[in-house]
């Protein structure tokens, strides 16, 4: 059945449905209960599932993640919420040294089936410490899965799937997408976990991206189409596992590729994608793979500077057009 739903509501519904199905799921984080989440994702879930399962915490990010690790090892399936991905720096020890390595260090005895939900990205002029895209730190950490939904349907399905995984999943929402509404059919079979989605197909250029930049890429693709340039837009959906087969297939078919990421360019996700495409599709590339990514600077609170610091539909279209020139 088709319904119209926001990204926020899809996330909320995913949590609600999953908590109904699996009584071992608990949500742990700042303001997740009574307040309903800083971005409203857990709104009123406490009324449905109770304060025992929507656990409001003190402002103690390292211990929140550590608590989730311990809970996951002892029978619960915790969803820890980090209000902003910018706070990752306080929790990387618990995430990367504990959650990510426990299965391995302990010789496979036990896993850490937790989900770390957080949100990142620009778009609310929230300043340098509340606007980052730090997924590269996570992607660089073996043992952590990484999901970054762009569409409303993926917000729902990827979160549901994350909540069935045996290993820790970092689930990064985009703060500028919460109010985005789409027509979706939540009963339709979702794409499998770990599979990229080809959001648009074209023969001139492949744009590989994820999260909010998917929409910028699509917008750019529309603009390009008006100039007669047809782009394929690939939404990776999960960065770990990474569906490189889909990327390879299209890049080899088309011969030109651009990667787009809101994260800082240097040593970021765009670097990994560009390196990988360059390496694996070498003989098929007619041009260098270009990276359109966040500038190597902090984000300003000023709106103009903020939006100038990250890729835009216009910039993607510009660069793409020049690649085709």
């Amino acid at each position: 059945m088709m319904t119209s739903m926001t990204y926020r509501d899809a996330l909320r519904k995913a949590l609600d449905d999953a908590m109904t199905d699996d009584s071992s799921i608990v949500v742990i984080g700042e303001e997740v209960g009574r307040y309903g989440g800083a971005y409203g994702v857990t709104k009123d879930l406490i009324k449905i599932h109770g304060a025992d399962r929507l656990i409001d915490t003190p402002i103690s990010e390292p211990a929140i993640v550590g608590t989730a690790v311990g809970a996951a090892m002892t029978g619960l399936r915790p969803v820890a919420e980090l209000m902003y991905i910018d706070f990752l720096g306080m929790t990387m020890d618990q995430l990367a040294n504990q959650a990510a390595k426990i299965r391995y260090m302990f010789g496979g005895q036990i896993g850490v089936p937790m989900v770390l939900r957080t949100q990142g990205g620009t778009g609310r002029s929230a300043g340098a410490q509340h606007s980052q895209s730090l997924e590269a730190w996570v992607m660089h950490t073996p043992g952590l899965r990484l999901a970054m939904p762009a569409t409303v349907a993926d917000a729902y399905h990827l979160l549901r799937q994350s909540l069935t995984k045996p290993d820790p999943v970092v689930f990064i929402e985009h703060k500028a997408l919460y109010t985005r509404k789409e027509e979706i059919d939540l009963d339709a079979d979702p794409l499998p976990w770990g599979k990229a989605a080809v959001r648009r197909q074209g023969d001139d250029l492949v744009i590989v991206t994820y999260s909010r930049q998917v929409f910028y890429a699509l917008e750019a693709a529309d603009a390009l189409a008006r100039k007669g340039i047809e782009a394929t837009v690939i939404d990776l959906r999960t960065l770990n596992p990474l569906d490189f087969d889909t990327v390879r297939e299209h890049v080899e078919r088309v011969g030109k590729a651009m990667v787009v990421s809101e994260g800082v360019m240097t040593s970021g996700v765009a670097a990994e994608l560009a390196a990988r495409i360059s390496e694996e599709c070498f003989d098929f590339l007619e041009q260098p793979v270009l990276r359109v990514a966040g500038e190597d600077i902090p984000i300003s609170v000023s709106q103009e500077l903020e939006s100038g610091s990250v890729p835009s539909a216009r910039m993607i279209a510009d660069v793409a057009a020049r690649m085709m020139a």
């Binding site: 700042e30 103690s60 000023s302 610091s309």
Partner: protein
């Protein structure tokens, strides 16, 4: 009325009124859609903590604040125009519009920076304390933060270092009873926070923030002790009059509680005390308030009329001038495509 009547109460009142009025104007700026940033945290109701503690500081002293730090900075002597401009994300602001409300700073006044990370600015005062001793600056460094930060581990690491090294450092918790929607007793079991400080070997005190003179007295003792090498902790008990951020209507608390809480108004209390004790006439205070209102009205105009930072300033100040700079994505792509064309 057995609090010590202090002749500088008028000055403290003036400071508090300026904070109150400034914050009201900040709220207007936000409502007019002219503040930069989606988050604005007002310190209305907390003016005594800013005024009382800053009155105990010396010019050479330094401090860091949390995200709700306008009042502290004003009490320290900030120019409200440059503050408002910064809150508006304008070039004339303290940080040229890059920082905004949550990242305001001013080295001239020893403001080592506001912080959008709860607890993030706390350990810097340990470093400032080391500098003070090493470079014989005779300065005390004060970390201001909210009750929410009482549950951040870095606070205890910092307290421990201050105590271990006898640093000229003071920790000031502005306990406004809430961290966002979480009432303090929903965040911790024992709210007698001075016990924590004492357990780490610091001086510790809790003071009711209703009477700014009591805040000042406690702060004076702790600042003086800190300067002499015995670090301290002060919790000032106040009430957050409005929502966490400008848009928050505080649905998580009862209106009755709010009405009761707002009775604990340090500005009004000081005003009444000034009148009741005959230090100043109501008429004169009315005039003072009016002058402050006019001063603060002007800050909005200043902010609104100031220019936004030029787009090119984006790449400035990532590193020091003269050091290798980041290349823009566009410049790199231009280079690559140009070579490709060639």
């Amino acid at each position: 009325m057995d609090a010590p009547v202090n002749t500088n109460l008028l000055e403290l009142y003036r400071t508090m009124r300026r904070i109150r009025t400034f914050e009201e104007r900040v709220g207007e700026l936000f409502v007019r859609g002219q503040s930069a940033g989606s988050m604005l945290h007002l310190s209305i109701g907390e003016e005594s903590s800013a005024a009382g503690v800053c009155a105990a500081m010396k010019p050479q002293d330094t401090f860091t604040t949390h995200h709700r730090g306008h009042g502290i900075f004003l009490a320290r002597g900030a120019d409200p125009k440059r503050m408002m401009a910064e809150i508006g994300g304008k070039e004339t602001g303290y940080c040229r519009g890059k920082g905004g409300s949550m990242h305001i700073a001013d080295m001239a006044l020893g403001h080592l920076g506001a912080n959008a990370i709860v607890g993030g600015g706390i350990p810097a005062v340990i470093g400032a304390g080391l500098s003070s001793r090493h470079l014989k600056q005779d300065s005390v460094s004060i970390a201001f933060f909210g009750d929410g930060a009482m549950q951040q581990g870095i606070l205890y690491e910092s307290m421990n270092m201050a105590s271990l090294w006898n640093l000229p450092v003071l920790f000031v918790c502005i306990n406004n009873q809430y961290g966002m929607g979480t009432r303090i007793d929903q965040a911790t079991r024992n709210t007698a926070f001075d016990q924590r400080a004492k357990a780490f070997g610091l001086n510790g005190a809790v003071v009711d923030g209703l009477d700014v003179e009591e805040v000042q007295a406690a702060a004076r003792w702790l600042v003086d002790e800190a300067r002499a090498g015995k670090p301290g902790f002060l919790s000032v008990e106040v009430y957050r009059f409005f929502g966490h951020a400008r848009m928050d209507k505080s649905p998580y608390r009862e209106e009755a509680e709010e009405l009761e809480g707002r009775k604990k108004d340090p500005v009004l209390f000081a005003r009444n005390k000034l009148i009741d004790t005959g230090i100043e006439e109501e008429r004169i205070l009315d005039e003072l308030d009016k002058a402050i209102a006019a001063e603060m009205d002007a800050t909005i105009d200043f902010a609104v009329e100031s220019k936004a930072p030029p787009l090119g300033s984006m790449f400035k100040d990532v590193y020091a001038a003269g050091e290798p700079e980041p290349e823009s994505v566009r410049a790199r792509i231009d280079r690559v495509l140009a070579r490709d064309d060639a």
